[in-house]
Amino acid sequence: MINNLLEEVLRDKVLSSKYNITEEMINKAKLAPPYENKVIEYLAMIIKSKMVDMHGDITVYNQIKNLIK
């Protein structure tokens, strides 16, 4: 169910064209690494942290921020 959420967002045309996300990448996309694209990693982390690990918003953000550093 949650993977489906990831796929659906990645299918957004504006997002996929800006970040060159292909159909193959979408089909392979999972919440767990490895990630083929920074945006996929970003989105997967948000979904996993919020909806699987049930973290609060602040924790979710701090985890995301760590991806950048």
Binding site: L5, E8, V9, V14, L15, V39, I64, K65, I68, K69
Partner: protein
């Protein structure tokens, strides 16, 4: 994997007298049916589920759910209580086993009761001591044989939720008429609540919120970072402030939008609630207007009739009608005859009297004889105006004129009593008075006939209008709900409905305007963000920019995705619902309508039931109404890409709706629910050899039906000895 109930056992639970082993029902995936006649233990069976999930049972006397703690004595089998000796302990338990893809779980709820005196009443709580047991849950790996007790309360809760999630229990566990409330189409949010509970659409809402939060925080971090940099220009700071102001406006617009949406929901709810009542009130008013109109006509006709009847007497004496003279034709001719005779006799008598008395003879002047004034003039002027000749004084002609002038004094004009007329002008008066009647006599019969025709015509028109009023009242009576027939209330309902409709329209307009303003502000903020990106100092860390860029793009993508998925879901929902509906009703002779789903300005779903012409259908039969609810429920479950993961447990979901609906229901249920346990009496036939009716026989052979149990009560038992026997017939 879905949770599947493997078995349920009862021990001295209502009719289920005896040990758990004696009262065990084994089920598997697909459709499972328990057939029982009235009193055969269907509702008691369902009470087992209510106990497991809610610690409640349905009190069949009051039709309300009650906490089992206060009902223990009632719940325990009468036969067990009756057979118990003083101080005997009776076990009363319900044990349910279910499994997922890894474990098999056993849930046990129970209590013991002790008989405290020999003459204990079977229903009096004070005559029994009750000892409730703690919830017992154990589990075993599917590959192993032995169950292990689970002690942790949280784990207990998790296992119960695994069987059926609390927010889904209302859609998974229902009894009879409760089906109609699963999705109440008169409650604006009922369908949307079902959609949120049964699909993953709320996950998209959640994702939209968290990506927005992440993007906002990323932006704040970036702004803090840039603001702390001395190289940041004044223009940059001003732009940042400008953007912040727009963001505040955006927040304010979002708040307003929420308030408009709240108003929309409230008024939509009111409109939906009042729609039926308003239609009813309008229809009643329409009938009332027609009845009023007809009553007005009836009143006018009755008045006309009364006037006609009142004037019947007058017509006897009214010269215009003269009905009193009817049949007097002979009387008139006889009167005329007698009058003529009288006149004749009278004249003869008069002549005879005059002849007898010569002294009293009267010189009757011929016509045109001059009067005394003329005669005096003739004397004075010595001229006769009769013969136009001179009449000199003392001549014969002059003397003759003088003698005529003086005839009265000379006694020549002496009146005589010829005979005494005591009748005065009696006969003349009669003639005068009767004149108008006499003239009408010939037409009286015709006049009466015309009056009778008029009366008949009025009576017929009155009857026709009375019939019309009665028919209108009869038709109107079908619109009266219960004893409620107060038109003041109806007018109030119409007023309320109109008001709610106006407010709803306004809320819709406000929502559209607010959404436009929000879109415009968002667009403007995006432009500011781009501009700020260009204006950032060159030494701004690139990773911060990338962080913000990705976070903002994911926020926008999550928002667009939610809208896209929701719109797609509505289309799918409509398709699925109509498919399920047609399948559910396909064995019914009547064709059903079309289920229409539409996204409303608030961004939630509106539902309508339409005919082929697109008109809203009202007054569909209860069977169709229930199938509509089930079709929509099944559609909501079907649009979920992962299907439904819990069993359906239903007691008499379709009682009295006919075999066609039941057949369609079993076929469709199998497509949607991984497992269903249906308690039903409509397949029972006491006269048939296998106790199943024709449809029951068909289901017995149907491969999609996994198990069928037949519950029966042994014959000729006293009430306190009653217990349920069951046998697995499939």
């Amino acid at each position: 994997m879905a949770s599947i109930i493997n078995q349920i056992s009862f021990q001295n639970f209502f009719n289920y007298f005896g040990s758990l082993e004696d009262n065990t029902y084994e089920f598997s995936e697909g459709v499972n049916i328990v057939v029982a006649d009235n009193g055969g233990g269907k509702s008691k069976f369902f009470n087992g589920f209510l106990w497991i999930f809610y610690d409640e049972i349905l009190d069949s006397d009051t039709k309300t759910r009650k906490n089992i703690k206060n009902q223990a004595v009632k719940v325990c089998s009468d036969k067990a209580k009756n057979e118990a000796a003083v101080n005997d302990l009776i076990e009363c338990n319900v044990v349910l086993e279910f499994s997922d893809n890894r474990f098999r779980y056993r849930i046990c709820k129970g209590f013991r009761i002790r008989k405290s005196k020999s003459d204990s009443s079977l229903t009096e709580s004070s005559d029994w001591q009750v000892f409730f047991k703690d919830l017992e849950i154990s589990k075993r790996d599917l590959q192993l044989l032995e169950f292990h007790e689970v002690y942790d309360d949280e784990e207990h809760k998790r296992i119960l939720n695994k069987l059926i999630q609390p927010n889904l229990r209302e859609y998974s566990l229902f009894q009879g008429e409760e089906v109609d409330k699963l999705i109440d189409f008169n409650q604006a949010d009922s369908l949307n609540r079902a959609v949120k509970s049964l699909t993953n659409i709320n996950k998209y809402d959640e994702l939209e919120k968290i990506t927005k939060y992440v993007a906002d925080r990323a932006e704040k971090d970036m702004n803090d970072r840039v603001a702390s940099n001395d190289a940041a220009s004044q223009n940059y700071r001003e732009k940042l402030d400008e953007k912040e102001t727009k963001r505040n406006s955006l927040e304010s617009e979002i708040e307003k939008l929420e308030s408009y949406e709240h108003s929309y929901t409230e008024n939509k709810g009111e409109v939906d609630k009042l729609e039926g009542l308003n239609e009813n009130a309008e229809a009643r008013k329409e009938f009332d207007d027609k009845i009023k109109d007809q009553n007005g006509k009836l009143k006018a006709l009755k008045e006309e009739y009364d006037r006609l009847v009142e004037k019947l007497n007058e017509r006897f004496f009214d010269g215009g009608f003269g009905w009193i003279a009817m049949g007097c034709e002979k009387g008139v001719s006889s009167f005329k005859e007698k009058l003529n005779k009288y006149r004749e006799v009278r004249t003869i008598k008069k002549v005879s009297i005059l002849s007898d008395d010569s002294n009293n003879q009267i010189n009757l002047l011929p016509p045109d004889s001059p009067d005394s004034v003329t005669l005096q003039t003739m004397v004075e002027r010595e001229h006769c105006y009769v013969c136009n000749r001179e009449a000199k004084e003392d001549t014969e002609p002059w003397k003759h004129i003088v003698s005529l002038l003086n005839r009265k004094e000379l006694g020549q004009n002496k009146s005589v009593q010829m005979f005494k007329n005591d009748l005065n002008d009696f006969f003349g008066d009669i003639q005068l008075g009767a004149q108008s009647y006499v003239g009408r006599i010939g037409g009286i019969q015709q006049s009466i006939l015309r009056t009778r025709e008029k009366e008949q015509e009025l009576l017929e028109r009155i009857t026709r209008i009375k019939d019309k009023v009665k028919n209108l009242k009869d038709e109107r009576s079908y619109l009266i709900i219960g004893d409620e027939d107060d038109m003041a209330d109806a007018r109030q309902i119409m007023g309320q409905y109109k008001g709610a409709l106006t407010r709803l329209q306004k809320a819709e307009d406000d929502i559209v305007k607010a959404k436009n303003r929000i879109a415009s502000l968002n667009e403007s903020i995006r432009k500011d963000e781009n501009e700020l990106g260009r204006m950032r100092p060159e030494d701004t860390p690139k990773e911060y920019e990338l962080h913000l860029d990705i976070a903002s793009d994911l926020r926008d993508a999550a928002q667009r995705t939610r809208i896209r998925v929701f719109d797609g879901m509505i289309l799918k929902l409509e398709k699925e619902a109509n498919q399920h509906f047609q399948n559910l009703i396909k064995y019914n002779e009547l064709a059903g309508g079309i289920l229409r789903f539409k996204k409303n300005p608030r961004g939630t779903i509106d539902f309508k039931y339409l005919d082929e012409e697109g008109n809203e259908v009202t007054g569909a039969s209860e069977g169709f109404q229930r199938m509509k609810v089930l079709a929509v429920l099944m559609a909501v479950i079907s649009v979920n890409p992962y299907g439904y993961l819990y069993p359906l447990l239903a007691d008499a979901p379709l009682s009295a709706f006919g075999q066609g609906f039941i057949k369609g229901f079993f076929e469709e249920t199998d497509k949607v629910f991984p497992q269903s346990i249906i308690l039903i009496k409509d397949l029972y036939d006491r006269d048939s050899e296998n106790k199943l009716n024709k449809l029951g026989g068909e289901l017995l052979k149907d491969a999609s039906v996994s198990t069928i149990y037949l519950n029966q009560i042994p014959k000729d038992l006293k009430q306190i000895e009653v217990y349920t026997e069951h046998k697995k017939i499939k």
